[in-house]
């Protein structure tokens, strides 16, 4: 019977990995954008460097332009032919996958002509499957020919042969003023309260500057921003006045516009009477400084910031102030009017927070968060590195002028270029590479980021699920890991649908390391067609539409009224106008409609954050976001009738204020005034990819699903289909995996069958022999012998002769076998092992020969088990001699007692016996013996009902020759087309019938007979196939035994550490327990005999054990009597202090005691022992 499985493909041509690829789009798209446009935008953001000649009146202006990164190519010294570098070569040769990064420097002398010079900035790391990757666009078949996985998804970097992924990090939402309450604010300075409005402003080149608007106890406000590690606080009035030409009245009216007596304490009113008084205080402050005009304010700011800002020492105060306003205050806006308006808005929000007419925004909620993408981080890090490079170049130029004087021609670009090229241009790309290699930022400004390390992690390929999870993981930031409070780790309802509630690790990183749900995406610079979005056009069209449907545009000198009459409209943190609150619902509905329709110019991932009027709820307004790196997810918009085009992408900010119902056809208990406007597409959309693989996870106790998510990522499976081309440190591989019979839809959708990770084992649930107690499990010996759970570990050793050692004679080393030393069968004449050869522990497998010193060095295999040589790869780059070799070993790992296994329901266990087949219980009718026995006690307290369902379903499925769909939440989906809809009253009834049809018990039980006695077991036994995974924790990697062995030099006690053959510490608590048992002899054995047993000579006269010395027997002529060997002279010990050898006693003691005596003696403390024979103490 040929069973066509759901996700089956007959050849590579019909393989479809689109759903899989979509999962890591955030990574690839952000990198693509960096290459396409991000670098260019960033270059515009780099301020041109001005180098004035110290003596001559000429000034050289250097700006950067035309960044270009090339596809990775091989370095080939002389031949000019293009050699494409493929990722697999990098993995094997342990090099980085990089492309050349060049840019042009534009030189201009005093408004003269611009001269462009090309600079090479080194080898820039390239993300796999990005636009520059040589694998991009290759079909699965082509990928296989490039020695990659057919489904190679990319999204990571290869650095020194290691695959590293950039971690997605949670960031505060950009360009959204957030009201915050934090006790540390009040400690800033005297008079500060704990309340502020914080906004993280992001420029077009992704660099960001956060500013805070603090509230002071006297009613005023301060604008705080950071320059080079110091925070500066400016009275907000000065900033307001400095931004535009305005009057006190205008500011006052603007600020108080949100207060209207008519609506006081009504719904949605945010202003109170106090606003006016605070406005007065703010204005008075400025007046007290006798600053009246804009020019005065600018002068004031400039005066104070001139010494702080670099490169503006000689400029006028006015220019300095402009620079401060431009570079530090609300940097996402480039218009002072917009900045003024937004500042007014922030003040209103701050006052409303103080007056408790609105609640603070929760910074831990996903509602106010976005994500930091790889391309963006690299862009902003690169920007800083380039700016540093330019500054350093300037210094170098000035030094050169000073040093050489007239001989250095400042006016000649060639000379200038020569100086700049000395400035380690290649270091730019190296800095990026190092950042990716270590995950550490080396920065002076901090880049407005809260952590310095942990930006990248290694993409482990323990199995495919582990690998893919790296790309879906979202970390909260390492600064939160040390926090004592649990608030940041809490699962908040705002993250519904975006972050998986199930897929987060236990323990230390719990709640900090989350995973995006299956459907969650991240907005990018690309629209759905793959074109770069034109934000200017988008903004215009959105404005047009908004004005069309009733928005009053904000123009200079027009006062901004506030809620509840009208709602302010912010588009990406820019106040664009206001809409009457009566109209706003209509407007929102209209925008949503336009958003969904493909024809409109409104991007489909725009977030329409409509915060409605409320009694002291969130600060109302209409917040529109079109920015990249926001989370979005698809839901169905019910107001749009068409069946296809009603999927709307929503964000976490707007979701909170939306009515989204479950697709079960009900209304979710909603009241009629708030009908559902949206509907979830499928309930499984709330789970991550890994969470989606648990069959019927809705029938399990929730922690079990969490455990399964962890265990799924540590199963041994098919980690890679290209093992023969890989050189990973360690790769786990299951020899004969199977695809599960009971499977969720995610298996086919994400092509999990390409990387299966378990076996359908026949599991009987009974207490048999007692070897299945306490989560132990009995494996059928014959099943194991037939290949069940067989696997191996691939381990690669790289021997690189060029880097080893550090001695001067490293070039003289070659791979060669020694001709002189004793023959070594495992090594061939080229110094390398034979493929297929078995290597025992401590056997040499590779030999190098130093031609200068004539010495051979043998590489010996460490470990405790014999291994096979799987593969030997040599580096053929240099033709003379080999100097780099990868030797891959294969550790056979067939199941043994102590290995760990688990089902897909968080039920893990350890193999306790390999039980003979004939002793296993058998079924009278079919003769079937189980592969595996688990104890029934595993179920009552853990309540993993889905495992029972899986067993029954898999039994039915295998009897009928069908795969069984186990997608969870089936009952929560409307059944319009499902044929099984009518008959499935409950899942069990559907499954039971399948069994009964084939003559099996409805409930999945069978009568079994004892394999030993042949008699019927008293109970019917629940038996059926369950998909079991083999976990990577194996005893062979863990067992630790020692009788005697290496000891510590100082203490003479056994050393620790499994690798070095050490022991396990018998510590204080262990000692206590033995004492409590009164097991004195055992205690003595453990702590003394088997540890640092020592016999010391003690002088009973002075009581010292340190002064005793061993007298060397004088060399006397040996008297041989009758050919007998001389009797050993008795050891003679004397005491130095007493100058006698009388009263010497031998005392057994722990050596550490003698050490203690010595240490005390070093401190001038003498330790005396009083010796008695134990009779009269």
């Amino acid at each position: 019977m040929v069973i066509k499985k759901p996700g089956h493909r007959s050849s590579l041509d019909d393989a479809n990995f689109d759903a899989l690829r979509d999962l890591l789009k955030p990574h690839i798209e952000s990198f693509d954008h960096m290459i396409d446009a991000g670098l260019k935008t960033m270059f515009i953001g780099i301020k041109p460097l001005e180098v004035p000649h110290p003596t001559q009146p000429t000034t050289l202006k250097i700006s950067m332009d035309n960044p270009k990164i090339f596809e990775p190519q091989k370095e080939r010294g002389f031949s000019k032919s293009r050699n494409i570098l493929y990722p697999f070569e990098c993995r094997q040769a342990k090099i980085s996958y990089t492309g050349t990064f060049t840019a042009e420097l534009c030189f201009q002398y005093d408004n003269g002509p611009i001269v462009r010079e090309k600079f090479n900035f080194g080898q820039f790391p390239i993300m796999l499957q990005s636009k520059l990757c040589n694998l991009r666009g290759a079909s699965p078949k082509k990928l296989v020919s490039y020695k990659e996985e057919a489904s190679e998804v990319g999204g990571y970097f290869i650095l020194n042969g290691l695959e590293r992924v950039m971690r997605l990090l949670i960031m505060p939402k950009r360009n959204y003023p957030m009201s915050t309450v934090r006790s540390s604010f009040s400690e800033r300075r005297e008079g500060y309260t704990d309340k502020a409005v914080v906004i993280r402003c992001v420029r077009a080149d992704q660099t960001s500057v956060s500013i805070k608007l603090y509230y002071l106890r006297n009613g005023s406000a301060r604008l705080g921003f950071w320059i080079l590690g110091r925070e500066y606080m400016l009275p907000v009035g000065i900033v307001l006045k400095a931004l535009i030409d305005t009057t006190d009245r205008e500011i006052y009216v603007n600020l108080t516009s949100c207060y209207n007596e008519k609506y006081e304490k009504g719904k949605g009113a945010v202003g109170t009477q106090l606003v006016g008084e605070r406005a007065k205080i703010i204005l008075d402050e400025v007046r007290d400084l006798s600053l009246f005009t804009r020019l005065q304010c600018l002068q004031y700011i400039g005066e104070h910031f001139q010494p702080i800002l670099q490169g503006l020492k000689n400029e006028s105060h006015h220019i300095v102030a402009d620079a401060v306003l431009r570079d530090y205050i609300l940097v996402h806006l480039d218009n002072n009017f917009d900045k003024f308006n937004l500042l007014i808005f922030m003040l209103q929000k701050l006052f409303s927070l103080i007056d408790q007419t609105s609640v603070p925004d929760n910074p831990d909620s996903l509602q106010n968060q976005e994500v930091l993408l790889p391309g963006h981080l690299i862009t902003l890090y690169l920007k800083e590195k380039l700016e540093e490079w330019l500054q350093k170049g300037k210094r170098l130029l000035l030094d050169e002028i000073e040093k050489k004087g007239a001989t250095f021609e400042f006016g000649r670009i060639a000379d200038v270029k020569k100086v700049l090229e000395k400035n380690h241009t290649k270091g730019i790309s190296t800095a990026i590479e190092n950042m990716l290699k270590t995950g550490r930022l080396v920065t002076t400004t901090g880049l407005d980021l809260h952590q310095r390390a942990g930006y990248t992690v290694q993409a482990e390929r323990i199995n495919f699920l582990r690998f893919i999870s790296h790309f879906r993981a979202v970390h909260r930031g390492s600064s939160f890991a040390g926090l004592r409070t649990t608030t940041v780790r809490k699962l908040l309802p705002e993250s519904w649908g975006f972050l998986c509630p199930v897929h987060t690790p236990d323990g230390e990183p719990c709640g900090l390391l989350n995973h995006m749900t299956r459907t969650c995406r991240v907005t990018s610079f690309y629209d759905s067609e793959g074109n770069i979005k034109d934000y200017f056009k988008i903004k215009l069209s959105i404005l047009n539409i908004l004005v069309e449907i009733g928005m009053t545009q904000s123009l200079p000198k027009i006062f901004l009224p506030g809620p509840p009459e009208v709602l302010t409209v912010l588009l990406d943190g820019c106040i664009v106008g206001f809409i009457p609150s009566t109209e706003v619902e209509k407007v929102v509905a209209h925008i949503r409609e336009l958003k969904v329709s493909s024809a409109a110019v409104i991007p489909n991932d725009m977030e329409v954050g409509y915060v409605p009027l409320s009694m002291g709820g969130a600060y109302p307004g209409l917040y529109l976001f079109t920015s990249p790196s926001r989370f979005v997810r698809p839901v169905r918009n019910l107001s749009i009738p068409s069946t296809n085009e009603n999927v709307e992408l929503i964000g976490p900010f707007e979701q909170v204020f939306m009515e989204i119902r479950c697709p079960d056809g009900g209304d979710g208990g909603r009241k009629s005034p708030f009908p559902a406007t949206h509907e979830e597409i499928h309930p499984t959309g709330m789970l991550s990819v890994v969470g989606n693989l648990t069959p019927w996870s809705d029938h399990n106790q929730s922690p079990r699903n969490m455990y399964q998510c962890q265990m799924a990522k540590q199963t041994m499976g098919f980690s890679s289909q290209t093992i023969q081309h890989r050189a990973d440190q360690k790769l786990y591989h299951l020899q004969t995996p199977q695809t599960p019979i009971v499977r969720t839809r995610a298996y086919s959708e994400y092509s999990i069958d390409e990387y299966p990770s378990g076996t359908n084992a026949i599991v009987a649930v009974l207490a048999y022999t007692g070897y299945d107690m306490e989560d132990a499990m009995i494996l059928n010996k014959s099943s194991v012998e037939r290949g069940m759970f067989h696997g191996q570990i691939y381990q690669t050793e790289t021997i690189d002769l060029t880097e080893k050692g550090g001695k001067s004679d490293q070039s003289a080393r070659v791979f060669r076998k020694s001709k002189l030393d004793k023959p070594c069968p495992s090594i061939d004449s080229d110094g390398l092992p034979h493929v297929g050869q078995m290597i025992w522990p401590d056997e040499p497998y590779c030999s190098t020969y130093n031609e200068v010193t004539n010495k051979t060095y043998l590489f010996k295999k460490k470990g405790s088990e014999p291994v096979y040589v799987d593969y030997v790869a040599v580096d053929t780059k240099t033709k003379k001699n080999l100097n780099k070799v990868n030797i891959r070993f294969r550790h056979p790992r067939n199941p043994v007692i102590g290995d760990k296994f688990s089902s897909r329901h968080g039920q893990k266990g350890v193999c306790s016996q390999l039980w003979p087949d004939i002793d296993m219980p058998f079924s009278g009718t079919t003769g079937m013996r189980p592969d595996l026995i688990i104890n029934p006690h595993a179920f009552p307290s853990r309540m993993t009902i889905a495992m029972l369902l899986e067993s029954v379903a898999a039994k039915g499925g295998s009897l009928h020759g069908k795969f069984k769909d186990a997608t969870p939440f089936r009952s929560s989906v409307k059944k319009d087309d499902e044929e099984s809809g009518s008959k499935s009253a409950s899942l069990v009834d559907e499954l039971g019938v399948m069994l009964k049809e084939k003559g099996f018990n409805y409930h999945g039980c069978e009568v079994l007979y004892s394999g030993v006695y042949g008699t019927e077991l008293t109970c019917e036994i629940f038996i059926g196939p369950v998909y079991y995974q083999r976990l990577r924790h194996m005893v062979s990697d863990k067992y630790q035994v020692r009788s005697t062995g290496t000891i510590d030099q100082v203490t003479r006690q056994p050393i620790k550490g499994r690798k070095r053959g050490g022991g396990i510490r018998f510590g204080e608590m262990e000692r206590d327990s033995l004492l409590a048992h009164g097991a004195a002899y055992l205690l003595h054995d453990r702590l003394h005999t088997c540890s640092d047993y020592h016999i010391a000579d003690v002088c009973s006269i002075c009581g010292s054990m340190l002064t005793t010395t061993f007298q060397q027997p004088r060399k006397r002529p040996v008297r041989e009597i009758g050919g007998l060997p001389p009797a050993r002279a008795p050891r003679k010990v004397t005491c130095h202090a007493c100058q006698s050898s009388k009263g010497m006693e031998k005392v057994a003691m722990p050596y550490i005691f003698r050490y203690l005596a010595a240490e005390l003696a070093a401190m001038n403390i003498k330790m005396t022992l009083k010796l008695t024979d134990g009779v009269d103490i």
Partner: protein, 319 residues
């Protein structure tokens, strides 16, 4: 010691016999004997299987151990196995397992030279002994669709890949390794004894009868279309799942049917891997069982036991 003999005379009646399948009845003995027979058939009857593989060239995608393991699991025709020696106590070759009395040599030399994937199967194995060859299922007409006479697949080769090896097959038993087990499945069931309480049954309506009959997942009972009486169609289909008894209780008619297992008759099902014919498997098993009993009887311990246990000891020796 003159007492009555406890020896019973078990009877075997063969019901169905095919090369790789057999169904027979075993009567007049008890569970211990039946189970012993089952256990011996699975794990003590010797067969020949590849045990030692010397790989000369392997450029296939599978690693050496994997191929060796696969080769080991190929069933070889093992009629000779009973007469062969275990290589561990073979005098002719000093136990190194290389002589004709205890081993059979196989060769496999395959290289793919076409663009089509080449399947290396058990048919590519060349045996040094024509009586010990991989089991051939292609002669069996029932397995037409699965294989077009190509045998058991070992590995697939693409162009340029090669596999060359020498393998030595030895005699062994399933206890040592599952590859030596000649039985795919051996199972037995107690013959059921079914009594329908006719009076009580008649108190049921036809509807209820049908419901009761359908409650058994296997077709044990049926209703006579003419007399509308419930009758036992196939007692051996009963799997002791007690479904009908539970059903009767649920219907308020406990004791509607009484089912007991006959403690002394067993129905065996034997499926062979093809290494030994199913009938031969049974005979070999009995032979081995006898040998084992002989070993017990003749061992020193048994004589001691004889003194110790008196009559029981004598009985153990077959008295």
């Amino acid at each position: 010691m003159e007492g009555a003999s406890y020896a019973r005379m078990p009877r075997v009646k063969i019901r169905e016999l095919k090369d790789d399948y057999m169904k027979f009845e075993l009567r007049d003995t008890d569970a211990s004997v039946a189970n012993a027979l089952r256990r011996v058939m699975i794990s003590e009857v010797p067969t020949i299987a590849i045990d030692l593989v010397e790989i000369e060239v392997n450029s296939s995608v599978l690693n050496d151990e994997f191929i060796a393991h696969r080769l080991g699991l190929i069933p070889l025709t093992s009629e000779r196995a009973m007469a062969m020696r275990f290589s561990r106590d073979c005098d002719a070759c000093d136990g190194d397992g290389q002589c004709e009395y205890c081993s059979v040599e196989f060769h496999l030399r395959v290289k793919c030279i076409t663009d089509q994937t080449l399947d290396v199967t058990s048919k590519d194995l060349y045996s040094s002994d024509h009586t010990v060859v991989p089991v051939d299922f292609s002669a069996d007409p029932s397995s037409l669709e699965s294989s077009d006479g190509r045998g058991i697949i070992i590995v697939k080769l693409r162009r340029g890949q090669e596999l060359r090896l020498r393998a030595i097959a030895r005699k062994g038993i399933g206890k040592d390794h599952a590859k030596w087990s000649p039985a795919a499945t051996v199972t037995f069931m107690y013959e059921p004894d079914i009594h329908i309480n006719e009076d009580l049954m008649e108190s049921l309506t036809l509807e209820e009868k049908r419901e009761w009959v359908d409650s058994s997942p296997t077709r044990v009972f049926d209703i006579d279309p003419v007399t509308q009486q419930v009758m036992v169609v196939d007692p051996e289909a009963y799997s002791y799942d007690d479904e009908v008894i539970k059903k009767a209780e649920a219907m308020g008619k406990p004791g509607l049917v009484e089912i007991t297992a006959k403690q002394d008759s067993f129905i065996f099902t034997v499926e062979s891997t093809g290494a030994v014919k199913a009938s031969q498997l049974l005979l070999n098993a009995i032979e081995i069982l006898k040998q084992k009993l002989d070993a017990v009887r003749l061992s020193e311990d048994t004589v001691e036991a004889d003194d110790q246990f008196g009559e029981l000891g004598a009985h153990m020796r077959g008295g």
